[in-house]
Protein backbone atom coordinates (compact mmCIF):
# COMPACT_ATOMS: atom_id res chain seq x y z
CA UNK A 1 0.00 0.00 0.00
CA UNK A 2 2.80 2.36 0.87
CA UNK A 3 4.44 1.22 -2.33
CA UNK A 4 1.57 2.95 -4.08
CA UNK A 5 2.34 6.28 -2.49
CA UNK A 6 6.10 6.11 -2.18
CA UNK A 7 7.19 3.46 -4.64
CA UNK A 8 10.75 2.30 -4.87
CA UNK A 9 12.41 -0.43 -6.82
CA UNK A 10 13.41 -3.59 -5.08
CA UNK A 11 12.06 -5.20 -1.97
CA UNK A 12 10.02 -3.72 0.82
CA UNK A 13 11.92 -5.29 3.68
CA UNK A 14 13.86 -2.10 4.29
CA UNK A 15 11.46 0.81 4.21
CA UNK A 16 12.97 4.23 3.90
CA UNK A 17 12.56 6.85 6.59
CA UNK A 18 9.96 8.63 4.50
CA UNK A 19 8.01 5.40 4.34
CA UNK A 20 8.08 5.02 8.06
CA UNK A 21 7.10 8.60 8.68
CA UNK A 22 4.33 8.30 6.22
CA UNK A 23 3.07 5.12 7.83
CA UNK A 24 3.18 6.89 11.16
CA UNK A 25 0.96 9.64 9.79
CA UNK A 26 -1.34 7.05 8.36
CA UNK A 27 -1.76 5.10 11.56
CA UNK A 28 -2.08 8.08 13.88
CA UNK A 29 -4.62 9.56 11.48
CA UNK A 30 -2.60 12.73 11.30
CA UNK A 31 -3.09 14.58 8.07
CA UNK A 32 0.01 14.33 5.91
CA UNK A 33 0.98 16.44 2.96
CA UNK A 34 0.73 13.60 0.49
CA UNK A 35 1.26 15.61 -2.70
CA UNK A 36 4.45 17.01 -1.29
CA UNK A 37 5.67 13.53 -0.38
CA UNK A 38 4.84 12.27 -3.82
CA UNK A 39 6.48 15.21 -5.51
CA UNK A 40 9.64 14.93 -3.47
CA UNK A 41 9.80 11.24 -4.10
CA UNK A 42 9.45 11.95 -7.79
CA UNK A 43 12.24 14.49 -7.63
CA UNK A 44 14.45 12.03 -5.84
CA UNK A 45 13.71 9.29 -8.37
CA UNK A 46 14.42 11.64 -11.25
CA UNK A 47 17.76 12.66 -9.81
CA UNK A 48 18.60 9.03 -9.22
CA UNK A 49 17.83 8.17 -12.84
CA UNK A 50 19.92 11.05 -14.07
CA UNK A 51 22.90 10.48 -11.85
CA UNK A 52 22.99 6.81 -10.97
CA UNK A 53 20.99 5.25 -13.82
CA UNK A 54 18.09 4.05 -11.78
CA UNK A 55 15.74 2.51 -14.29
CA UNK A 56 12.52 2.78 -12.31
CA UNK A 57 9.92 5.37 -13.10
CA UNK A 58 7.61 5.84 -10.13
CA UNK A 59 4.00 6.98 -10.34
CA UNK A 60 3.39 5.79 -13.88
CA UNK A 61 -0.32 6.14 -13.53
CA UNK A 62 -0.16 9.47 -11.74
CA UNK A 63 2.08 10.96 -14.40
CA UNK A 64 -0.21 9.66 -17.05
CA UNK A 65 -3.21 11.12 -15.27
CA UNK A 66 -1.47 14.48 -15.24
CA UNK A 67 -0.86 14.23 -18.98
CA UNK A 68 -4.43 13.26 -19.47
CA UNK A 69 -5.74 16.18 -17.46
CA UNK A 70 -3.36 18.49 -19.26
CA UNK A 71 -5.04 17.59 -22.52
CA UNK A 72 -2.05 15.90 -24.05
CA UNK A 73 -4.06 12.83 -24.85
CA UNK A 74 -6.52 14.99 -26.71
CA UNK A 75 -3.72 16.50 -28.74
CA UNK A 76 -2.40 13.06 -29.57
CA UNK A 77 -5.82 11.86 -30.51
CA UNK A 78 -6.30 14.85 -32.77
CA UNK A 79 -3.02 14.26 -34.51
CA UNK A 80 -4.19 10.69 -35.35
CA UNK A 81 -0.64 9.56 -36.00
CA UNK A 82 -0.15 7.34 -33.03
CA UNK A 83 -2.09 4.21 -32.32
CA UNK A 84 -2.65 2.61 -28.97
CA UNK A 85 -0.05 -0.09 -29.40
CA UNK A 86 2.69 2.51 -29.82
CA UNK A 87 1.76 4.14 -26.57
CA UNK A 88 2.26 0.91 -24.67
CA UNK A 89 -1.00 0.74 -22.78
CA UNK A 90 -0.96 -1.20 -19.55
CA UNK A 91 -3.30 -1.61 -16.65
CA UNK A 92 -1.88 -2.83 -13.41
CA UNK A 93 -3.14 -5.54 -11.12
CA UNK A 94 -5.85 -4.82 -8.63
CA UNK A 95 -5.07 -5.17 -4.97
CA UNK A 96 -7.91 -7.02 -3.31
CA UNK A 97 -8.66 -10.01 -1.19
CA UNK A 98 -6.69 -12.13 -3.60
CA UNK A 99 -3.54 -10.20 -2.67
CA UNK A 100 -4.15 -10.93 0.97
CA UNK A 101 -4.44 -14.61 0.15
CA UNK A 102 -1.16 -14.54 -1.72
CA UNK A 103 0.49 -12.72 1.13
CA UNK A 104 -0.68 -15.60 3.36
CA UNK A 105 -2.51 -13.19 5.61
CA UNK A 106 -5.73 -15.13 5.20
CA UNK A 107 -6.42 -18.75 4.41
CA UNK A 108 -7.33 -19.88 0.95
CA UNK A 109 -10.78 -21.02 2.03
CA UNK A 110 -11.58 -17.67 3.51
CA UNK A 111 -11.19 -15.92 0.23
CA UNK A 112 -14.40 -15.23 -1.64
CA UNK A 113 -14.83 -13.38 -4.86
CA UNK A 114 -17.21 -10.48 -4.50
CA UNK A 115 -19.47 -9.19 -7.18
CA UNK A 116 -18.27 -5.73 -6.30
CA UNK A 117 -14.69 -6.66 -7.11
CA UNK A 118 -12.86 -3.90 -8.85
CA UNK A 119 -12.05 -4.67 -12.43
CA UNK A 120 -9.22 -3.24 -14.40
CA UNK A 121 -10.67 -0.41 -16.38
CA UNK A 122 -9.53 1.55 -19.35
CA UNK A 123 -12.28 4.10 -19.24
CA UNK A 124 -10.12 7.21 -19.17
CA UNK A 125 -8.59 6.59 -22.50
CA UNK A 126 -10.67 7.75 -25.40
CA UNK A 127 -8.21 6.27 -27.80
CA UNK A 128 -9.22 2.79 -26.78
CA UNK A 129 -12.92 3.29 -27.28
CA UNK A 130 -14.71 0.49 -29.10
CA UNK A 131 -11.97 -0.57 -31.39
CA UNK A 132 -13.78 -2.84 -33.85
CA UNK A 133 -12.05 -6.21 -34.19
CA UNK A 134 -12.87 -6.47 -37.85
CA UNK A 135 -12.32 -4.52 -41.03
CA UNK A 136 -13.94 -3.87 -44.38
CA UNK A 137 -12.10 -6.77 -45.92
CA UNK A 138 -14.05 -9.23 -43.83
CA UNK A 139 -16.94 -10.99 -45.51
CA UNK A 140 -20.19 -9.04 -45.24
CA UNK A 141 -21.91 -11.64 -43.09
CA UNK A 142 -19.04 -11.56 -40.59
CA UNK A 143 -19.24 -7.79 -40.41
CA UNK A 144 -22.98 -7.88 -40.03
CA UNK A 145 -22.63 -10.39 -37.21
CA UNK A 146 -20.08 -8.26 -35.40
CA UNK A 147 -22.19 -5.16 -35.74
CA UNK A 148 -25.21 -7.00 -34.47
CA UNK A 149 -23.31 -8.39 -31.50
CA UNK A 150 -21.95 -4.97 -30.68
CA UNK A 151 -25.41 -3.48 -30.89
CA UNK A 152 -26.76 -6.21 -28.64
CA UNK A 153 -24.09 -5.59 -26.05
CA UNK A 154 -23.85 -1.84 -25.99
CA UNK A 155 -26.89 -0.61 -27.84
CA UNK A 156 -24.67 1.31 -30.21
CA UNK A 157 -24.44 0.80 -33.92
CA UNK A 158 -21.16 0.87 -35.77
CA UNK A 159 -21.31 2.96 -38.88
CA UNK A 160 -19.67 1.87 -42.07
CA UNK A 161 -17.22 4.76 -41.90
CA UNK A 162 -16.06 3.65 -38.48
CA UNK A 163 -14.87 0.28 -39.71
CA UNK A 164 -11.19 0.40 -40.56
CA UNK A 165 -10.39 -0.38 -44.16
CA UNK A 166 -7.67 -2.85 -43.35
CA UNK A 167 -6.48 -4.60 -40.26
CA UNK A 168 -3.21 -3.43 -38.88
CA UNK A 169 -0.54 -5.71 -40.26
CA UNK A 170 -1.91 -6.54 -43.66
CA UNK A 171 -4.84 -8.19 -45.31
CA UNK A 172 -6.71 -11.03 -43.74
CA UNK A 173 -6.28 -14.45 -45.24
CA UNK A 174 -10.03 -14.88 -45.23
CA UNK A 175 -10.50 -11.63 -47.03
CA UNK A 176 -8.06 -12.66 -49.67
CA UNK A 177 -9.81 -15.94 -50.16
CA UNK A 178 -13.13 -14.26 -50.44
CA UNK A 179 -11.85 -11.72 -52.87
CA UNK A 180 -10.31 -14.28 -55.15
CA UNK A 181 -13.50 -16.28 -55.02
CA UNK A 182 -15.53 -13.26 -55.91
CA UNK A 183 -13.28 -12.46 -58.77
CA UNK A 184 -13.32 -15.99 -60.02
CA UNK A 185 -17.09 -16.18 -59.92
CA UNK A 186 -17.55 -12.86 -61.58
CA UNK A 187 -15.05 -13.80 -64.20
CA UNK A 188 -16.75 -17.08 -64.70
CA UNK A 189 -20.05 -15.29 -65.11
CA UNK A 190 -18.51 -12.98 -67.59
CA UNK A 191 -16.98 -15.89 -69.36
CA UNK A 192 -20.22 -17.74 -69.50
CA UNK A 193 -21.80 -14.77 -71.10
CA UNK A 194 -18.92 -13.66 -73.18
CA UNK A 195 -17.22 -16.85 -74.19
CA UNK A 196 -19.72 -18.11 -76.71
CA UNK A 197 -20.39 -14.73 -78.26
CA UNK A 198 -16.69 -14.16 -78.70
CA UNK A 199 -16.32 -17.33 -80.69
CA UNK A 200 -19.18 -16.36 -82.82
CA UNK A 201 -17.97 -12.87 -83.32
CA UNK A 202 -14.67 -14.20 -84.51
CA UNK A 203 -16.41 -16.36 -87.02
CA UNK A 204 -18.71 -13.59 -87.95
CA UNK A 205 -15.81 -11.27 -88.42
CA UNK A 206 -14.17 -13.73 -90.75
CA UNK A 207 -17.16 -13.80 -92.95
CA UNK A 208 -17.32 -10.16 -94.01
CA UNK A 209 -13.59 -10.02 -94.56
CA UNK A 210 -13.86 -12.27 -97.60
CA UNK A 211 -16.64 -10.56 -99.34
CA UNK A 212 -18.22 -12.28 -102.24
CA UNK A 213 -21.09 -10.91 -104.10
CA UNK A 214 -24.38 -12.59 -103.54
CA UNK A 215 -27.76 -11.83 -104.99
CA UNK A 216 -30.70 -10.98 -102.88
CA UNK A 217 -33.53 -13.40 -103.14
CA UNK A 218 -36.28 -12.37 -100.80
CA UNK A 219 -38.68 -15.03 -101.97
CA UNK A 220 -36.64 -17.96 -100.68
CA UNK A 221 -36.40 -16.28 -97.37
CA UNK A 222 -39.55 -17.88 -96.05
CA UNK A 223 -38.43 -21.33 -97.01
CA UNK A 224 -35.14 -21.12 -95.16
CA UNK A 225 -36.86 -19.96 -92.03
CA UNK A 226 -37.89 -23.54 -91.33
CA UNK A 227 -34.30 -24.80 -91.50
CA UNK A 228 -32.35 -25.22 -88.30
CA UNK A 229 -30.32 -22.12 -88.15
CA UNK A 230 -27.69 -23.23 -85.75
CA UNK A 231 -26.84 -26.32 -87.69
CA UNK A 232 -26.44 -24.37 -90.82
CA UNK A 233 -24.35 -21.83 -89.10
CA UNK A 234 -22.06 -24.48 -87.69
CA UNK A 235 -21.77 -26.20 -90.97
CA UNK A 236 -20.94 -23.06 -92.79
CA UNK A 237 -18.38 -21.89 -90.36
CA UNK A 238 -16.72 -25.22 -89.77
CA UNK A 239 -16.31 -25.96 -93.43
CA UNK A 240 -14.91 -22.50 -93.80
CA UNK A 241 -17.03 -21.72 -96.79
CA UNK A 242 -17.16 -18.16 -97.80
CA UNK A 243 -20.45 -16.56 -98.35
CA UNK A 244 -21.66 -13.31 -99.59
CA UNK A 245 -22.92 -10.74 -97.17
CA UNK A 246 -26.04 -8.76 -97.46
CA UNK A 247 -26.70 -6.15 -94.91
CA UNK A 248 -29.63 -4.29 -96.31
CA UNK A 249 -32.11 -7.04 -95.59
CA UNK A 250 -35.00 -6.47 -93.23
CA UNK A 251 -34.71 -8.28 -89.87
CA UNK A 252 -35.92 -11.86 -89.84
CA UNK A 253 -38.37 -13.30 -87.37
CA UNK A 254 -35.98 -16.09 -86.40
CA UNK A 255 -33.43 -13.69 -84.99
CA UNK A 256 -35.57 -12.15 -82.29
CA UNK A 257 -36.35 -15.64 -81.11
CA UNK A 258 -32.70 -16.32 -80.57
CA UNK A 259 -32.23 -12.99 -78.97
CA UNK A 260 -35.03 -13.59 -76.54
CA UNK A 261 -33.47 -16.90 -75.57
CA UNK A 262 -30.25 -15.26 -74.71
CA UNK A 263 -32.02 -12.49 -72.94
CA UNK A 264 -33.95 -14.88 -70.79
CA UNK A 265 -30.77 -16.55 -69.69
CA UNK A 266 -29.15 -13.29 -68.80
CA UNK A 267 -32.22 -11.99 -67.09
CA UNK A 268 -32.27 -15.08 -64.96
CA UNK A 269 -28.72 -14.43 -63.93
CA UNK A 270 -29.40 -10.82 -63.21
CA UNK A 271 -32.46 -11.52 -61.10
CA UNK A 272 -30.50 -14.03 -59.13
CA UNK A 273 -27.77 -11.51 -58.55
CA UNK A 274 -30.29 -8.94 -57.50
CA UNK A 275 -31.96 -11.32 -55.13
CA UNK A 276 -28.63 -12.06 -53.56
CA UNK A 277 -27.92 -8.38 -53.33
CA UNK A 278 -31.19 -7.76 -51.63
CA UNK A 279 -30.52 -10.45 -49.10
CA UNK A 280 -27.16 -8.94 -48.26
CA UNK A 281 -28.69 -5.53 -48.04
CA UNK A 282 -31.30 -6.75 -45.65
CA UNK A 283 -28.68 -8.43 -43.50
CA UNK A 284 -26.80 -5.19 -42.87
CA UNK A 285 -26.98 -1.60 -43.90
CA UNK A 286 -23.24 -1.28 -43.75
CA UNK A 287 -22.56 -3.06 -46.96
CA UNK A 288 -24.85 -0.99 -49.10
CA UNK A 289 -22.03 0.91 -50.65
CA UNK A 290 -20.25 -2.21 -51.68
CA UNK A 291 -23.43 -3.76 -52.92
CA UNK A 292 -24.11 -0.71 -55.03
CA UNK A 293 -20.67 -0.98 -56.49
CA UNK A 294 -21.24 -4.62 -57.18
CA UNK A 295 -24.58 -3.85 -58.79
CA UNK A 296 -23.03 -1.25 -60.98
CA UNK A 297 -20.35 -3.68 -62.02
CA UNK A 298 -22.95 -6.34 -62.75
CA UNK A 299 -25.01 -3.91 -64.75
CA UNK A 300 -21.98 -2.87 -66.74
CA UNK A 301 -21.10 -6.49 -67.42
CA UNK A 302 -24.66 -7.20 -68.50
CA UNK A 303 -24.70 -4.27 -70.86
CA UNK A 304 -21.43 -5.34 -72.37
CA UNK A 305 -22.70 -8.84 -72.87
CA UNK A 306 -25.86 -7.49 -74.45
CA UNK A 307 -23.90 -5.33 -76.80
CA UNK A 308 -21.74 -8.25 -77.80
CA UNK A 309 -24.82 -10.35 -78.31
CA UNK A 310 -26.31 -7.66 -80.53
CA UNK A 311 -23.20 -7.63 -82.63
CA UNK A 312 -23.30 -11.35 -83.03
CA UNK A 313 -26.90 -11.31 -83.96
CA UNK A 314 -26.28 -8.80 -86.68
CA UNK A 315 -23.55 -10.95 -88.06
CA UNK A 316 -25.58 -14.04 -87.62
CA UNK A 317 -28.28 -12.35 -89.57
CA UNK A 318 -25.83 -11.75 -92.33
CA UNK A 319 -24.70 -15.33 -92.22
CA UNK A 320 -28.24 -16.56 -92.31
CA UNK A 321 -28.98 -14.47 -95.25
CA UNK A 322 -25.88 -15.70 -96.92
CA UNK A 323 -26.91 -19.26 -96.32
CA UNK A 324 -30.30 -18.61 -97.87
CA UNK A 325 -28.63 -17.05 -100.85
CA UNK A 326 -26.47 -20.10 -101.31
CA UNK A 327 -29.39 -22.42 -100.93
CA UNK A 328 -31.21 -20.48 -103.59
CA UNK A 329 -28.17 -20.74 -105.83
CA UNK A 330 -28.13 -24.46 -105.34
CA UNK A 331 -31.81 -24.67 -106.12
CA UNK A 332 -31.25 -22.69 -109.25
CA UNK A 333 -28.39 -24.95 -110.22
CA UNK A 334 -30.43 -28.04 -109.62
CA UNK A 335 -33.25 -26.77 -111.69
Amino acid sequence: MSENLLPKGGGVDQPSLDHRVFLHFLITLEKANVPKYIFNHMLWALKESQNSNMSWIPYGRLLFEIFHQGGILKAIKLSKIIIDAQLGTVTSKVMNGCTLRKMLLIKKEEYTQLSTNLLESSVVSNLMDDFPPFCRQDPPDVRAHYVYEHWKRTGETIKFDEIPKTMYGGALPIARKRKSKKKATSEADDDEEAFEPKKKTKKAKDAPQEQSVGSEVPTIHDEVQDLELVKILDKRTRSGKTVGSSQSLPPQPSIPRKKSKQNVRKLKVSTYVREEDEEIEASSDLITREVKRKKAADAAALQKALEIAKDIEVHAEALLKESTVEASHKVIELT
Binding site: G9, F39, L46, G88, S92, M128
Partner: protein
Protein backbone atom coordinates in the same frame (compact mmCIF):
# COMPACT_ATOMS: atom_id res chain seq x y z
CA UNK B 1 24.55 29.04 -26.32
CA UNK B 2 22.52 27.54 -23.56
CA UNK B 3 21.38 30.90 -22.34
CA UNK B 4 20.44 32.06 -25.78
CA UNK B 5 18.31 28.96 -26.28
CA UNK B 6 16.71 29.34 -22.89
CA UNK B 7 16.08 32.98 -23.65
CA UNK B 8 14.31 32.01 -26.85
CA UNK B 9 12.36 29.42 -24.97
CA UNK B 10 11.05 31.86 -22.41
CA UNK B 11 10.31 34.58 -24.90
CA UNK B 12 8.43 32.09 -27.01
CA UNK B 13 6.46 30.95 -24.04
CA UNK B 14 5.58 34.50 -23.20
CA UNK B 15 4.48 35.20 -26.75
CA UNK B 16 2.40 32.08 -27.17
CA UNK B 17 1.60 30.00 -24.20
CA UNK B 18 1.34 26.80 -26.24
CA UNK B 19 4.57 26.99 -28.18
CA UNK B 20 6.21 23.71 -29.05
CA UNK B 21 9.64 23.12 -27.70
CA UNK B 22 12.15 20.43 -28.38
CA UNK B 23 13.89 19.19 -25.29
CA UNK B 24 17.05 17.22 -25.11
CA UNK B 25 17.47 14.10 -23.10
CA UNK B 26 18.62 14.56 -19.57
CA UNK B 27 19.83 11.05 -18.76
CA UNK B 28 22.01 8.38 -20.26
CA UNK B 29 19.35 5.73 -19.94
CA UNK B 30 17.48 4.78 -23.07
CA UNK B 31 13.73 4.60 -23.06
CA UNK B 32 13.65 0.81 -23.34
CA UNK B 33 15.89 0.44 -20.32
CA UNK B 34 13.38 2.10 -18.08
CA UNK B 35 10.67 0.32 -16.17
CA UNK B 36 7.49 2.05 -15.25
CA UNK B 37 6.20 1.24 -11.80
CA UNK B 38 2.48 1.31 -12.15
CA UNK B 39 0.51 1.89 -9.00
CA UNK B 40 -1.79 -0.87 -7.96
CA UNK B 41 -5.47 -0.05 -7.85
CA UNK B 42 -6.84 -0.99 -4.46
CA UNK B 43 -10.16 -2.67 -3.99
CA UNK B 44 -11.06 -1.49 -0.51
CA UNK B 45 -14.39 -3.29 -0.46
CA UNK B 46 -12.78 -6.63 -1.13
CA UNK B 47 -10.08 -5.95 1.44
CA UNK B 48 -12.64 -4.96 4.02
CA UNK B 49 -14.61 -8.10 3.30
CA UNK B 50 -11.54 -10.13 4.13
CA UNK B 51 -10.96 -8.35 7.40
CA UNK B 52 -8.60 -5.63 6.32
CA UNK B 53 -10.41 -2.35 6.73
CA UNK B 54 -8.25 0.47 5.43
CA UNK B 55 -10.74 2.97 4.10
CA UNK B 56 -10.68 4.98 7.25
CA UNK B 57 -6.95 5.57 7.12
CA UNK B 58 -6.96 6.84 3.59
CA UNK B 59 -10.14 8.79 4.02
CA UNK B 60 -8.48 10.90 6.71
CA UNK B 61 -5.65 11.61 4.31
CA UNK B 62 -8.18 12.65 1.62
CA UNK B 63 -6.77 10.02 -0.66
CA UNK B 64 -10.05 8.58 -1.91
CA UNK B 65 -9.72 10.49 -5.15
CA UNK B 66 -6.20 9.26 -5.60
CA UNK B 67 -7.17 5.60 -5.25
CA UNK B 68 -10.11 6.11 -7.58
CA UNK B 69 -7.74 7.54 -10.13
CA UNK B 70 -5.39 4.57 -9.92
CA UNK B 71 -7.72 2.21 -11.73
CA UNK B 72 -7.07 3.03 -15.32
CA UNK B 73 -4.67 2.55 -18.16
CA UNK B 74 -1.16 3.90 -18.34
CA UNK B 75 0.59 4.68 -21.56
CA UNK B 76 4.07 3.55 -20.62
CA UNK B 77 5.78 4.90 -23.69
CA UNK B 78 4.46 8.36 -22.99
CA UNK B 79 5.68 8.19 -19.42
CA UNK B 80 9.12 7.02 -20.55
CA UNK B 81 9.21 9.75 -23.17
CA UNK B 82 8.47 12.24 -20.45
CA UNK B 83 10.96 10.76 -18.01
CA UNK B 84 14.06 10.79 -20.22
CA UNK B 85 13.48 14.46 -20.98
CA UNK B 86 12.58 15.51 -17.48
CA UNK B 87 14.71 17.94 -15.55
CA UNK B 88 14.41 19.33 -12.09
CA UNK B 89 13.93 23.06 -12.03
CA UNK B 90 14.64 24.25 -8.51
CA UNK B 91 16.35 27.13 -6.82
CA UNK B 92 19.81 25.84 -7.74
CA UNK B 93 19.00 25.64 -11.43
CA UNK B 94 17.34 29.06 -11.27
CA UNK B 95 20.40 30.60 -9.66
CA UNK B 96 22.61 29.00 -12.29
CA UNK B 97 20.40 30.46 -14.97
CA UNK B 98 20.66 33.92 -13.47
CA UNK B 99 24.40 33.53 -13.11
CA UNK B 100 24.80 32.61 -16.77
CA UNK B 101 22.79 35.65 -17.79
CA UNK B 102 25.00 37.90 -15.77
CA UNK B 103 28.11 36.30 -17.21
CA UNK B 104 26.98 37.14 -20.72
CA UNK B 105 25.85 40.64 -19.87
CA UNK B 106 27.52 42.03 -16.68
CA UNK B 107 25.21 45.06 -16.68
CA UNK B 108 22.37 42.80 -15.60
CA UNK B 109 23.94 42.10 -12.24
CA UNK B 110 21.68 42.68 -9.28
CA UNK B 111 18.47 42.67 -11.29
CA UNK B 112 15.43 40.56 -10.53
CA UNK B 113 14.36 37.50 -12.50
CA UNK B 114 11.63 39.43 -14.26
CA UNK B 115 14.17 41.96 -15.45
CA UNK B 116 16.35 39.13 -16.68
CA UNK B 117 13.46 37.91 -18.81
CA UNK B 118 13.21 34.73 -16.76
CA UNK B 119 10.09 33.09 -15.50
CA UNK B 120 9.54 33.72 -11.81
CA UNK B 121 10.43 30.76 -9.65
CA UNK B 122 7.48 29.98 -7.47
CA UNK B 123 8.27 26.42 -6.49
CA UNK B 124 10.35 23.48 -7.52
CA UNK B 125 9.21 21.99 -10.80
CA UNK B 126 9.85 18.97 -12.94
CA UNK B 127 10.01 20.21 -16.49
CA UNK B 128 9.80 18.07 -19.55
CA UNK B 129 8.03 17.82 -22.83
CA UNK B 130 5.93 15.22 -24.54
CA UNK B 131 6.14 15.34 -28.30
CA UNK B 132 7.03 19.00 -28.13
CA UNK B 133 4.32 19.96 -25.68
CA UNK B 134 5.94 21.47 -22.57
CA UNK B 135 4.88 19.82 -19.33
CA UNK B 136 5.73 20.98 -15.86
CA UNK B 137 4.82 19.12 -12.73
CA UNK B 138 4.59 20.75 -9.35
CA UNK B 139 3.09 19.79 -6.02
CA UNK B 140 -0.01 21.68 -7.01
CA UNK B 141 -0.40 19.60 -10.16
CA UNK B 142 0.00 16.36 -8.24
CA UNK B 143 -2.51 17.52 -5.67
CA UNK B 144 -4.98 18.25 -8.44
CA UNK B 145 -4.42 14.80 -9.90
CA UNK B 146 -4.99 13.33 -6.42
CA UNK B 147 -8.08 15.54 -6.06
CA UNK B 148 -7.02 17.05 -2.77
CA UNK B 149 -5.24 20.13 -1.44
CA UNK B 150 -1.57 20.66 -0.70
CA UNK B 151 -1.75 20.72 3.03
CA UNK B 152 -0.82 18.70 6.07
CA UNK B 153 2.29 17.97 7.99
CA UNK B 154 5.53 17.12 6.30
CA UNK B 155 8.79 16.12 7.92
CA UNK B 156 11.41 18.06 6.04
CA UNK B 157 14.56 16.44 4.79
CA UNK B 158 14.73 13.49 7.11
CA UNK B 159 17.07 11.28 5.15
CA UNK B 160 18.76 14.03 3.17
CA UNK B 161 17.29 12.98 -0.12
CA UNK B 162 14.77 15.75 -0.48
CA UNK B 163 15.68 19.01 -2.11
CA UNK B 164 15.64 22.14 0.03
Amino acid sequence: MATSSSNQETSMQIATSEAYQIKGRTMKLEEWELTVQGEYPVDFISLAHHGCELRNFFHTQYLDGYFCMLNGPTYENLVKHFWVRAEVYDIHVARLEEHEKVLIDPTLKGKTREQLCLKPLTCTEIRSSIMGIPVSITEEVIARACRRKVEGSYEENLDNKTIP
